[in-house]
């Protein structure tokens, strides 16, 4: 124990190692907290949810923190869902059968940019007579704009931008040709060109129901140009799900792969050295064959032909490195250890082969393994990202690499959605650097020869 304490003392003298350890600790905390907040199955369901799951999110919206760095305040998403009891609700019985429901959604709009989209989703219950919906828009300067009438089916969505009558009305209102409704409704008519009129807006959704049992729920979404702390992708998915869940997945993949490869390789080396002869020969030859088979191409092949599951890949990475080239390094060390007197002593009292290998040989070089394992972690974290970038990421799990892949294939760099690539890359870099810095320091602590230089 005291030896470990001493090592810890030495490690603390490296500032980079301390920083790295803090970062690793944070990543581990996120890794533990994420599955508690958002269970595995829930994360998969959300990430595969599609349009229904994410319909109130904007497409390709930047993260909200971007507003801190820009002069103009970009519009955030505003959602009113009558089913959730948002806004004011007024109901009036007009006749025996006819009833009017009025949802009044009043909101502040303090932003400098227009929302990219305005949509009203409705869900209606009726037997045969469809309800009728009318939309009334009240601007801060007191104008009333009739912005749409429609008869919704059981589920319907009214896209303000696609209503021609509304567009013509707004062209007259703003004096700008082909104005989009989501811009015209927020435009300040006293100003030249398109300019947001800040203030309190009100949307009234008036539903006429023609059956006693009929009902209507309405969800109004003014989509933002920024959304949440991580932004959204082309499928309106909130990137925070993938950024958060990517952490435990990257950690698990990196750590398990590093541990698995190191321990199997070392055990094989120990067995080869102990038994010697043809066992050692076979292991040596297998190592050479294994060196001819490149890791990434085989992974790509298996990913394309068999399975892309992250866990299959993990198993394969470990399996392929059982006879990795590092065997040669461990072998050299074991050959020295094997000649030490305590091994002879063990043999003299009749210890079994397995006992000698796993109780006497292996523990001897465990300290050397610690820096090795830590240094290997970034390699595997980036390997997962590389596979994902080649389109071979896990089909269901949201990982950092898959975010980069999505961004790359949707032309994020070309269209300027930088956050999409920068956020997962920053996390990858953070994780990689943290482990590398700790690994470097550990290497120096456990290999005193390096320390002098």
């Amino acid at each position: 124990m005291s030896a470990l304490a001493l090592r810890w003392q030495q490690l603390r003298r490296y500032p980079s190692a301390v920083v790295g350890l803090i970062v690793i600790a944070m990543l581990v905390i996120v890794s533990i907290a994420t599955p508690l907040v958002l269970p595995y199955s829930e994360a998969i369901r959300l990430w595969r949810g599609g349009d229904q799951e994410w319909r109130t999110n904007p497409r390709n919206a930047a993260p909200a923190w971007q507003n801190l760095f820009t002069e103009t305040d970009q519009a955030a998403t505003i959602v009113f869902d009558s089913a959730e009891g948002d806004g004011e609700q007024v109901a009036e019985q007009l006749s025996a059968d006819t009833r009017e429901v009025r949802y009044i959604y009043e909101f502040e709009f303090p932003y400098d940019t227009f929302p990219p989209e305005l949509i009203l989703f409705t869900s209606a219950t009726y037997a045969s007579k469809q309800p009728f919906v009318e939309l009334l828009w009240y601007t801060p300067d007191g104008r009333e704009i009739r912005s749409g009438e429609f008869t919704p089916t059981y589920t319907a969505s009214f896209r303000f931008d696609q209503d021609n009558r509304l567009q013509r009305r707004l062209e007259r209102e703003t004096g700008i040709e082909n104005v989009r409704a989501s811009q015209g409704l927020f435009d300040d008519p006293t100003q030249e060109g398109l300019q947001v009129l800040k203030g309190t807006y009100r949307l009234e959704v008036v539903g006429l129901l023609f059956e006693p049992q009929a009902d209507l729920e309405a969800t109004f979404v003014s989509y933002g140009q920024v959304h949440g702390w991580a932004g959204t992708d082309h499928l309106r998915r909130d990137l925070s799900v993938a950024l958060l869940w990517g952490t435990p997945l990257a950690m698990a993949f990196g750590l398990l792969a590093a541990l698995g490869t190191t321990i199997t390789t070392m055990s094989i080396a120990a067995i080869g050295v102990w038994f010697g002869g043809w066992v050692d020969g076979v292991i040596q030859r297998l190592t050479e064959v294994n060196a001819i088979i490149p890791l990434l191409p085989i992974l790509i092949m298996v990913g394309t032909l068999y399975s892309r599951s992250l866990w299959v890949m993990l198993g394969l990475v470990i399996a392929l490195s059982i006879f990795g080239l590092t065997i040669k390094n461990y072998r050299a060390i074991f050959l020295q250890v094997k000649e030490l007197p305590y091994i002879d002593a063990a043999r003299a009292y009749g210890a079994s082969n397995m006992r000698i290998i796993f109780r006497y040989l292996v523990p001897r070089i465990l300290p050397l393994l610690i820096p090795q394992i830590v240094t290997l972690v970034p390699f595997f974290v980036f390997l997962e990202a590389a596979l994902a970038l080649l389109g071979l990421g896990d089909p269901v799990l949201p990982t950092w690499g898959k975010l980069i892949n999505d961004a790359n294939s949707e032309g994020a760099l070309f269209y300027g959605y930088y956050y999409w690539i920068l956020q997962p890359s920053a996390l990858l870099m953070l994780a990689g650097l943290a482990f590398a810095m700790v690994g470097f320091a550990l290497d120096r602590v456990f290999n005193p020869k390096l320390r002098e230089i």
């Binding site: 191409p297 032909l305 390096l450």
Partner: protein, 387 residues
């Protein structure tokens, strides 16, 4: 007389001695040559065996243990049935006749591709062909010049990979060597500490930095291309072509360097430092030899084996790196070809690529032994085991 005899005797003796020495020297040389030959032959056999096992495993995996045959048979049947239904003269035949005809047609096609033999037998045929570099025809991929020969497809892509990674590796080698030497000379200086601090950044691979470089130079600043090898359409005259190629190479080469330069030069600097604390270096310094000479003769020379090993490991990892690097930069090289071949289930191209790689690797390993002997006089090829 006696003296004469003695002289004579001496003369005879000396003659015999010279002959004996010459003979023993010849014998030693012969023995050395024989040992070298024997060692080389053994090594070649071992390497070929290694390559064969590696390639055979690839053949099995790339064919999904024979599953790909079913896909191919189904594809053949589908195309035959399609062709049959499109043929008007076919409609007059009875259903039975038609089925018969389709079956014979499928069988013929299957035999043409050798699918009638069991997979196990064919896997060895594949292995033999692959080892003899008889790479055969691709199943789906076609080279840009229109050839279906795997050899042509690969040879067409090889130069672009060699140009890109050859440049990158050469730059890396000389730059890291230069930087390593410089840092070891100024041990403990600011630049030394800076490189030491930057060394962990090499834990991120080159393609990862490539994303950032594309973001900055192609997307934001817009003065370098996003990817590709030359601008479209390719320039006609040679100078413009070279310039365009150079412009397209800046980012991928820079990304490749960023992923390796700091760690490599840090490692090499450490080698140099270890060797520059040897006694004979102190001795040389005491003799007053110029620094350059000390560096070249007493530091660089003994570190060369380490440097060569470290560099050859970099070359070996190049293959894996090339696949992803070329994908990120849309570079039409061998790595992307491999990726495309896998996506198209084109087994011959996959196997062809792996064979090429396995041979290159084997040759590297083989040559390394001799390079060691060249740069390190203590190492004699074929002598003892180097374990």
């Amino acid at each position: 007389m006696a003296a004469d005899l003695v002289v004579d005797d001496f003369n005879i003796n000396s003659e015999v001695d010279v002959e004996a020495i010459e003979a023993s020297a010849r014998r030693a040389r012969l023995q050395g040559a024989r040992r070298l030959l024997r060692y080389t032959a053994l090594k070649v056999v071992a390497l070929i065996f290694t390559v064969a096992v590696g390639v055979y495993i690839t053949v099995i995996v790339a064919n999904m243990g024979g599953e790909v045959d079913k896909i191919r048979l189904a594809a053949i049947r589908e195309s035959v049935v399609l062709a049959a239904t499109a043929d008007p003269s076919f409609r007059e035949l009875s259903a039975e006749q038609r089925a018969d005809l389709i079956n014979t047609q499928v069988e013929l096609e299957a035999r043409r591709y050798g699918l009638d033999q069991p997979f196990l037998q064919r896997s060895f045929t594949y292995l033999r062909d692959a080892m003899l570099l008889d790479l055969g025809f691709a199943q789906g991929l076609i080279s840009d010049s229109g050839s279906r020969l795997v050899r042509n497809i690969i040879l067409e892509r090889l130069p672009s990979t060699l140009v890109l990674f050859g440049t990158a590796q050469l730059l890396l080698f000389f730059w890291a060597l230069f930087l390593g030497l410089r840092l070891s000379r100024r041990y403990g200086s600011f630049s030394d500490k800076l490189v030491l601090a930057l060394a962990p950044t090499s834990s991120a691979p080159g393609w990862f930095y490539g994303l950032f470089l594309i973001l900055i130079f192609a997307s934001v600043l817009q003065f370098l291309p996003f990817g590709g090898m030359v601008s479209a359409p390719p320039p006609d005259n040679r100078l413009d072509y070279a310039l365009s190629l150079g412009r397209h190479m800046i980012l991928p080469v820079a990304a490749w360097l960023m992923g390796a330069i700091f760690l490599t030069s840090y490692n090499w600097r450490t080698f140099f430092l270890i060797y520059s604390s040897e006694d004979y270096v102190e001795m040389a310094k005491a003799k007053g030899l110029p620094d350059r000479m000390i560096e070249r003769r007493y530091i660089l020379r003994p570190t060369l084996p380490n440097i060569v090993t470290s560099f050859s490991l970099l070359v070996i990892t190049l293959w894996s790196g090339a696949i992803i690097h070329e994908t990120v930069f849309n570079w039409p090289g061998i790595g992307r070809l491999y990726f495309q071949a896998i996506a198209a289930f084109d087994t011959p191209v996959i196997v062809g690529n792996v064979v090429l790689y396995a041979y290159l690797l084997a040759i590297t390993v083989f040559l390394l032994d001799f390079i060691y002997a060249l740069v390190d006089p203590r190492v004699r090829v074929g002598e003892g085991s180097r374990n």
